[in-house]
Amino acid sequence: MRPGALGGGRGVVAILVLVLRSRIRVGSRQIGAARSRHPIRTTVQGITLLVVGLTTAVTIALVSRLLFSVVTETDQHLVFAAFFVALLSAGIIASSGAALQSIYLAPDLPFLLTMPIPLVSTFTSKFIETLAGTLPIGFIGFWFLAGYASTTNQPILTFLVGGSVLLAYLVMLTALGIVMVAGIARVVPAKRAWTVLGIVSLVIVASLGVWWATIQRDDASSGLTPGISIDAALHAGAAGMVANVLQAGKHFEYTPLGWAARTIAATDGPGLAAWSNGVAFASLSLVSIVGAWWLFAITFATGTSGFRTASAPLPRPSRPIARWTAAGLSYLPVQLAALVLKEWIMMFRDSRRLTGALWPLGMVIVYTINLSRGSPAVTDPAGWGFWQSIGPVIFLPWATSLGTAVYSVGSEHRGVHLLRTLPVDSQLVLTAKVVAGVVPVLVLTTAAAILVAAGNEATLTQLGLVVLFMTWSSVGFVTLDTCASALAPNFVADQVQRTLRLKGRIYSLGAGAVFAAGTVLVVGWALITVEGQPPIITSVDLTTSVGFDPLGWPLAFAGLVISGAVVIASWTLGVTHLDHILIGDAP
């Protein structure tokens, strides 16, 4: 213990209470301040959270009920084991992120370090803060447990035992998160922690995905035969899913997650074996806390100073790449080129900003692989069959843009104040952000689309059309999402996903849906023009029944009007809001 620190267990607890009380006070004041500053926004957010929470809870409980209504009593623990495994990746990501934020990057840490506070009190308060970051996992677990208890008519004891097991599970996840972060802080320079954490999380998710794919039972979809009714297909699909869940559970039956699962599943018939599983899991949970404390204690000074030292060794950024990019932009007006270059450099050097692009990137990869193999439902791969196979690829820019362009204004962070001091107007800034956003989305998704088209034996005309559609789609969706990012940016958010507030997200989705509808019409017209009417409507004489050919120019006109209107409206809104940010009194 450092000189001046309070001795004895009571002192440690007293200090812990003081620290926690101050943290709670800070948190409640932040909420209070937000409520008084933006009462309507806070109310809407509260209601949205409630609705989303209720929907999630009901969905989880229903899935749980479905699973437990079809498995036998002896297999129930396998479902729980599979459930704990499924939560593991999300749990580790949540807990390690929370540990990094609440322990190593917390603004109060240097202050706490200068105070005569025993390290164990600091650790405990930070452990509790980190544990709070895993509460969403606990929420999911609780409703899964509720689904189980209501389906199998479990006694109230199930909630007590299940709740305790869940708590022990969260504690273990928290400890694991702290261990991971302590390890990272030990071996990598401070500024790289988020990147390493992102890579580790990606590896965990990918490993679980690969594992899940490899254990899929081959006979899981054996019930899906041609001509099957929808009910029968759903039943067969559900049965296959349950079989896979049980298969997954079996792999972890004798691991600590299996102990936790057995403890919950055996509460209505508490045998010695069931209780011993529970005791073993709880003990392991305690051991994990001790392990986390030990690692925290021995790495604390190194890790913290590493995080705080501004001069942590970093390699020089690649100047040639920036130079080539600058040369590539030289045909643009100089101010626009400067803003676009700045945007790209910031985008590609900021690993935290790139985390927003992880899931869209995953989606592009998944769609490319799936659609390249062709659709079994398509019997004739030429003409309309080709477009039927690759159709969804046209909307890949939407997904990609939702993970990148929607954050473009908010991720300026403090840089927005610099923009306010510079002689630039909102049109120029927004144009630069659109250009900077369109190029990577266009390159990435067009490359994916060409791969998909090639996999489906596209003709040259079809390939040309694919490139044209991808350009239309990329420019449209990125413009909409960039404008949406100006509607409700959050410049003080640390995480990129929080740099756009709810209003902007809702607008982005709504405007995207309208543009998607317009795109369907325009693409439909283009395909009818090139490929002729699709087989499904060739037998209908629309011209006679309507009086004109609705699949001719009216289709293109309607598509262009819808798409154009939503883009123009969004641009106007975006410029107005950005104007307010750049020349108003406070962003």
Binding site: A14, A312, L314, T421, I583
Partner: protein, 271 residues
Amino acid sequence: MTIPAIRVQGLTKRYPSGTGVHDVTFVVPAGELFVFLGPNGAGKSSTIKMLTGLLTPSDGVVEVNGVDVVRDRTAAKRLIGYMAEQPFLYEKLTGREFVTFVADIYRVPRRTRIERSESLLQILEMTDRADHLIETYSLGMRQKIAIASVLVHQPPVLFLDEPTNGLDPRSARTVKDLLRDICARGGTVFMTTHILEIAEQMCDRVGILDQGRLVALGTIDELRDRLGLPDASLETIFLQVTGYARPIDFDLFTSSGYGEPLELDPDAASA
């Protein structure tokens, strides 16, 4: 008639909580180094933000080189170089990239930009670190890059909030010399500082703001004459016009002695 570099007439800023800046009027001619002083919370930041077009005045006129800052902000910003107390920098850019970015925004021709940025980086002793990310810089290095970015487009009017903040004595001297040189060549510098020695050494004229009102304006000699304190330092003048009186006798420490350990009662903490 010569157009003044800065003309402020009846500048007022009202907030819901009260008036932050009250009817401030002054003129800064071209080529002058004007130091703006005031106690914490006096309204200096609000004033400088209104002068640079970052905050809309409730009343009054602000002109920079004859351009109305409120009516034509973009045109006014072309004439201004503004450095905030905590400079606004893009952390993921290198120092050199940042200076280039600002120069391009001000449309400085490429060759001129390269020449100027290289010499500024050299003068400010940043050449060795110019290709490192700004996020790795110390406070002083950030300050130097901010100064370089403000000077690279050679604006006629500079607004600098605590420009020597975080600089080592050698760099602070360089910056002071640089600013004096700019004024000698016709540029105008409007700066704030809490270090009165710097203000006294550098300024042509000084303005002192207190509780949102301009309570003193003139050269240091003029202020001495006005107050009847012929040998007074700027610190004495400042304290005099802002009404400072030593409020207590610092008997805070005498009751228990200075440095005696305090007892913390664990029960009281957890109660």
